[in-house]
């Protein structure tokens, strides 16, 4: 701001000095002309109107003329004319004319006779001067010797009631040249001073603006590199510039910004560390869960073959299954779906799976195993988590499956129908679940399919469910357990057509042989 004001001020002073000079020189010229006019009037006082108008030169006239010529010559006046306006208002009579230039004066004396009448209409200025108005302003006129600056004065003369007019001409170019010389003489030091001011301003500008900005800019360029390579908690030194102006504000903003970025980077780093730690734990949980429940299991024995597969929708899921052959040759199976998803479901799954598996192996009665597991879980379950499942045993000798259903979806006979809904209740919520055993007999070549709601409630982009009927149709032609499970999975994948699923998908099939 201050720099702009300085530059404007120096420019203005240059212009003002020129204007002042012109006015000064014009004032000086007007003063000299006043002296000329006074001297001329004094000289005219020594003559009379008759002498001025008579055709021959008289002593008085000559003396007056000589005096005026001397004054003009000394004071550098080009011409001085005394004349009267004629009554016809379009001509004037020249009574006395002298020139400051001696040669020209001689010529005039010879060539311009007394009472020379010339055609010239009276100007407004001349009329003004005659009527007594004070008018010291010069007028630009054209004369024989070039352009003039002319002043007009009234002249009193003895023997005439009316005033005569006096015109004093000065060489215009001479006066302008003088003005120009003076201005130049004044302007050169002014320009020099201005140049000095500009140089000082540039130096100040570099010192106060450019250099500090360069410092800030250099710090900014290196900030990210320093921030990313910096170790530990130390924050870089703040930019110190004790200033109250805009540069100071930029420094403050820069310090605030780097402080904020440092803080945010720190937050992001700690969040990333936590995220990495959480992901590591999740992948550990997933490995543990996969150890408990492999993605698929195929079992074949005397009189049966079985296949189970599970696909998790998330990192750790809530479904699980179990398929194993007991010491007496019977096939034990469990298929379950824990309420909720994620880590909490996985924890609950691990706990309930172990419990159910142990109960099934020890008491060999599905309903009894599930009722005992239920009471055990329900006695301390503040989070109200639960698991729905079917657990059962196949006797390969008879093809009879004894199973208990704890609030789970009804099993499907491959190529047949869904078995009737059981009387059970989900496991883990209410003590005394009253779960009962049910039986189904498979003839050799017949199969059964257990599934979680990840199958029947698989949904496509239009939010339609895969549903029980499509599942029934998909497995109708299957001739073995692997075939039944794969047919169901393929049909579901075709149906959802890539639409992301949020539920685990687990299928378990048993065929009698």
């Amino acid at each position: 701001m201050s720099f702009v004001a300085l530059i404007v001020a120096s420019g203005a002073s240059l212009l003002l000095s020129h204007a002042y000079n012109s006015a000064d020189i014009m004032d000086e010229a007007t003063n000299i002309i006043d002296i000329v006019a006074q001297e001329a009037q004094a000289a005219v006082n020594g003559t009379t109107y008759d002498e001025l108008t008579s055709e021959s030169d008289t002593e008085g006239y000559d003396a007056t003329r000589e005096t005026i010529q001397l004054v003009c010559s000394l004071l550098n006046v080009r011409n001085l004319t005394i004349y009267e306006l004629n009554d016809d208002e379009s001509t004037l009579t020249c009574l006395l004319i002298v020139s400051g230039d001696d040669e020209e004066d001689e010529r005039l004396q010879k060539e311009v006779p007394h009472g020379f009448v010339m055609e010239k209409k009276a100007s407004q200025k001349e009329l003004n001067v005659l009527s007594g108005a004070s008018d010291s302003e010069a007028e630009i006129t054209e004369g024989i010797m070039g352009r003039n600056l002319s002043w007009f004065f009234p002249v009193e003369v003895e023997g005439c009631d009316d005033d005569l007019l006096m015109r004093i001409d000065v060489d215009d170019s001479e006066l302008l040249g003088k003005i120009f010389d003076n201005t130049l003489a004044f302007a050169i030091p002014m320009i020099a001073i201005n140049m000095g001011v500009v140089v000082i301003e540039v130096v100040m500008l570099r010192r106060d603006v450019s250099n500090p900005l360069k410092v800030v800019s250099a710090r900014m360029r290196g900030f990210v590199r320093r921030e990313s390579s910096r170790e530990g908690e130390s924050h870089e030194e703040p930019l110190e510039m004790k200033r109250d102006d805009e540069i100071g504000e930029i420094c403050d903003s820069y310090n605030k910004m780097t402080g904020d970025i440092h803080e945010y980077v720190g937050q992001i780093e700690s969040m990333t560390r936590e995220r990495v730690a959480a992901n590591t734990e999740l992948s550990v949980a997933r490995r543990i869960q996969q150890g408990l429940v492999p993605p698929s299991t195929e079992l074949a024995g005397d009189g049966f073959e079985a296949f189970a597969s599970m696909r998790m929708a998330r990192e750790v899921g809530g479904d699980f299954y179990d398929l194993s052959v007991l010491g007496d040759g019977r096939l034990m199976f469990v298929l379950a779906d824990v309420s909720g998803k994620g880590v909490s479901a996985a924890l609950f799954m691990a706990m309930s799976r172990t419990l159910i598996y142990e109960k099934m192996r020890t008491c060999l009665d599905p309903a009894k195993a599930l009722n005992e597991a239920n009471d055990s879980i329900a006695s301390n379950n503040p989070e109200c988590m639960f698991v729905t499942l079917v657990a059962g045993l196949l006797d390969p000798a008879t093809g009879v499956i004894t199973y208990a259903n704890a609030g789970h979806l009804a099993p499907l006979v491959v190529g047949g129908e869904y078995l009737g809904q059981s009387d059970g209740i989900v496991l883990g919520l209410f003590e005394g679940a009253g779960i009962v055993n049910e039986t189904v007999r498979l003839e050799p070549g017949e199969g059964i399919l257990f599934y979680t709601d990840g199958a029947t409630e698989a949904n496509n982009a239009q939010a339609d469910f895969f549903g029980e009927q499509r599942l029934c149709d998909a497995v109708a032609g299957a001739s073995c357990a692997v075939d039944a499970v794969h047919s169901a999975v393929e049909a579901i994948d075709l149906f959802v057509a890539g639409h992301e699923q949020f539920d685990d998908l687990t299928l378990l099939s048993i065929f009698a042989r």
Binding site: D337, V338, S339, G340, K341, C384, M385, F386, T388, A406, G407, H408, L409, A410, Q421, D423, G424, I425, V426, L429, F430, A433, G434, D453, E457, F502, D503
Partner: protein, 96 residues
């Protein structure tokens, strides 16, 4: 999921609309937590509930335990009723 809660004396009615699954169960949980302690009877109106998942079932049990059994579920649609039957909820919760 849209939940409308109306209180009349010591009875509060929560009307659920849309899907009650793992994504919306927390909303239902928040509505349950907001029920005034003076409430003695909770009615859950499921006339506009289109779907319920296991997470939704769990939240109903949370409500049942919070109300110490003073819970009535009404206007259940056939689809949701089928889920209740499979899970055995019809045997333990008052569903009218």
């Amino acid at each position: 999921m849209k939940i409308t809660s109306t209180a009349e004396g010591t009875t509060t009615t929560l009307a659920l609309e849309g899907w009650l699954d793992s994504a919306t169960a927390p909303e239902f949980g928040a509505a349950l937590a907001a029920i005034d302690s003076s409430c003695e009877e909770l009615i859950i109106d499921l006339s506009a509930l289109e779907y319920i998942s296991s997470a939704g079932l769990r939240q109903l049990v949370v409500a049942y335990k919070q109300m110490k059994g003073h819970l009535t579920i009404c206007n259940t649609t056939a689809e949701v009723m089928q889920v209740f039957k499979v899970a055995g909820f019809d045997k333990r919760l008052r569903i009218v």
